[in-house]
């Protein structure tokens, strides 16, 4: 369960090399997605993420990256209408890849030996067949990478390769977001300490006692942290601080 900071060991596999190259923008993900698409001879790829955590009714699928292009401008919308709810629901309970058949008789997605390890969506709803790999990272950054075509044949090599790479894509997307979401000023050590204790259920008096400060100072720290985190009160600040990883 150890979280390893160490990423610079010699790399016996592709997994490591991916993590070592730090990407700087979303455009860096395109060539990787295209090469993944080629593995199963798909026409297009798309990356969707689930936004608006919390209540199931508030969640929705948002398209983050795709190469459906201008000729398929409605593809993303069609997809969400057809399968959005199914994908959101699936994310809550399973890690198994999803497959679906297209509207056309010949437009199918199949797998020879992996029927047990994939879940079928209701077919014949879209002009293309496809496969979607769920990636559940945790509190944030969950979503799917998917590949669509007229015909998809998924072998076990491609399955593990693509699903593994899908995880890296989603992690890289998340780390890009986080770098952008860094507050204008970073939180000071004291502010982090106060937030942490407040999140642990301590009231200002107790925090002051524990840190050897006056109550007013503690409230000031919590106040400045709230401003830096662009929040309206300390509760929202605590929620954001956890999501951004300042406190645990």
């Amino acid at each position: 369960m150890a979280y390893s900071q160490d990423k610079n060991g010699e790399s016996p596999g592709e997994i490591r090399t991916f993590r070592m190259t730090r990407i700087t923008s979303r455009s860096d993900l395109f060539p990787r997605l295209v090469s993944m698409q080629k593995i199963i001879n798909a026409r297009h790829f798309a990356v969707f993420r689930i936004s608006g955590g919390g209540l199931p009714s508030k969640r929705k699928l948002v398209c983050e990256l795709e190469n459906w292009g201008p000729s398929n401008i409605t593809a993303s919308q069609m997809f969400v209408e057809a399968y959005g709810d199914a994908l959101i629901d699936h994310m809550e309970k399973s890690l198994l890849p999803l497959m679906w058949n297209g509207r056309d008789e010949a437009s199918i997605a199949e797998t020879s030996d992996l029927d047990m390890f994939t879940v079928r969506l209701k077919g014949r709803l879209l002009p293309f067949s496809g496969v979607a790999f769920p990636v559940r990272l945790g509190a944030v950054g969950n979503g799917y990478t998917m590949f669509t075509s007229n015909y998809i044949d998924l072998a076990s090599d491609a399955l593990v390769d693509l699903h593994g790479k899908s995880c890296h894509i989603m992690m890289d997307l998340l780390s890009l977001d986080e770098r952008r979401a860094v507050p204008a000023e970073t939180l000071s050590e004291r502010e982090v300490a106060c937030l942490q204790l407040a999140g642990d259920g301590r009231i200002s008096d107790e925090i002051a006692d524990k840190l050897g400060l006056s109550v007013h100072t503690v409230n000031a720290y919590l106040g400045s942290a709230t401003i830096k985190l662009d929040s309206v009160n300390r509760i929202q600040a605590i929620a954001k601080a956890i999501r951004l990883g300042y406190i645990s």
Binding site: M1, D6, G54, S94, F117, A139, S156
Partner: protein, 248 residues
């Protein structure tokens, strides 16, 4: 003895463990898939974990509910063939390790094999390395970690570790589909979750009353009830709890 400080990348260095030693005779991915598919119908988690352990060339597995590890007791163990004393000894270290990494770090380490050393004072089965490997993955809201013990001197293959992480997730997805009850939903009602969601967004009771069209006292009752159910003392702590457990 801190587990964390002893992390190393010994297992990543040296010769890659391919085509030499016991693994050359080891099962292929197709054999693994076949075995898991046969087991999947039987609801037998240990047999599946044993197959994965064998595939990667490890000797013992421990599948843990990483999200429950903070709590007292050994309830976090889902399935294991580690020596009992070792599990009990390690649970303390795991809890502190868990609380020291942030949610974001956890999100960014999904399916990344990481290596750490077991404490010095534990008695290991003969020939087993002091080092263990762990892989985390999520199935729905459940964060699981698969921890592997392996023989001294063995280098685990990165590719096989990736396969094992994915297939452990797939296999757990079967188990989950059958056993929905295992998911502890903290018994919060839809209304209570709704209140939590808005509080985390920084809304006051008055504002939530306006949004939901119910009285402020009702909102406060919901929140009191959330605090009782989650055993938290303040609103801040209740929100922190909700964010940590992916409830909002």
């Amino acid at each position: 003895m801190e587990v964390e400080t002893l992390q190393s990348d010994i297992a990543l260095k040296g010769r890659p463990f391919v085509g030499s030693g016991p693994l050359s005779k080891a099962m292929s991915r197709e054999q693994l898939i076949g075995r898991l598919a046969r087991l999947a119908g039987s609801n037998h988690l240990p047999a599946g974990m044993a197959a994965l352990t064998e595939y990667v060339g490890a000797s013992h597995y421990l599948l843990a509910r990483y999200d429950l590890v903070q709590e007292q007791g050994l309830e976090f163990v889902v399935s294991s063939n580690w020596p009992f004393d070792l599990v009990r000894r390690l649970s303390v270290d795991l809890a502190s390790l868990y609380s020291r990494s942030t949610e974001l770090e956890k999100c960014l380490s999904i399916l990344q094999p990481s290596f750490a050393l077991l404490p010095d004072d534990v008695e290991l089965p003969a020939g087993v390395s002091q080092q263990y490997c762990s892989l985390t993955f999520n199935v729905g809201r459940t964060r699981l970690s698969l921890m592997l013990l392996f023989a001294d001197g063995i280098i685990l293959s990165q590719d096989r570790l990736r396969d094992v992480g994915l297939f452990a997730g797939y296999y757990s997805s079967f188990a989950r589909a059958r056993d929905q009850k295992a998911e502890r939903d903290f018994d919060l009602t839809e209304r209570e979750l709704e209140c939590l969601f808005w509080i985390a967004e920084g809304k006051t009771s008055d504002e939530i009353a306006m949004i939901l069209g119910i009285s402020r006292n009702t909102i406060n009752n919901y929140i009191t009830s959330v605090m009782r159910k989650t055993a938290t003392k303040t609103r801040s702590e209740a929100i922190a709890y909700a964010v940590r457990n992916n409830l909002v």
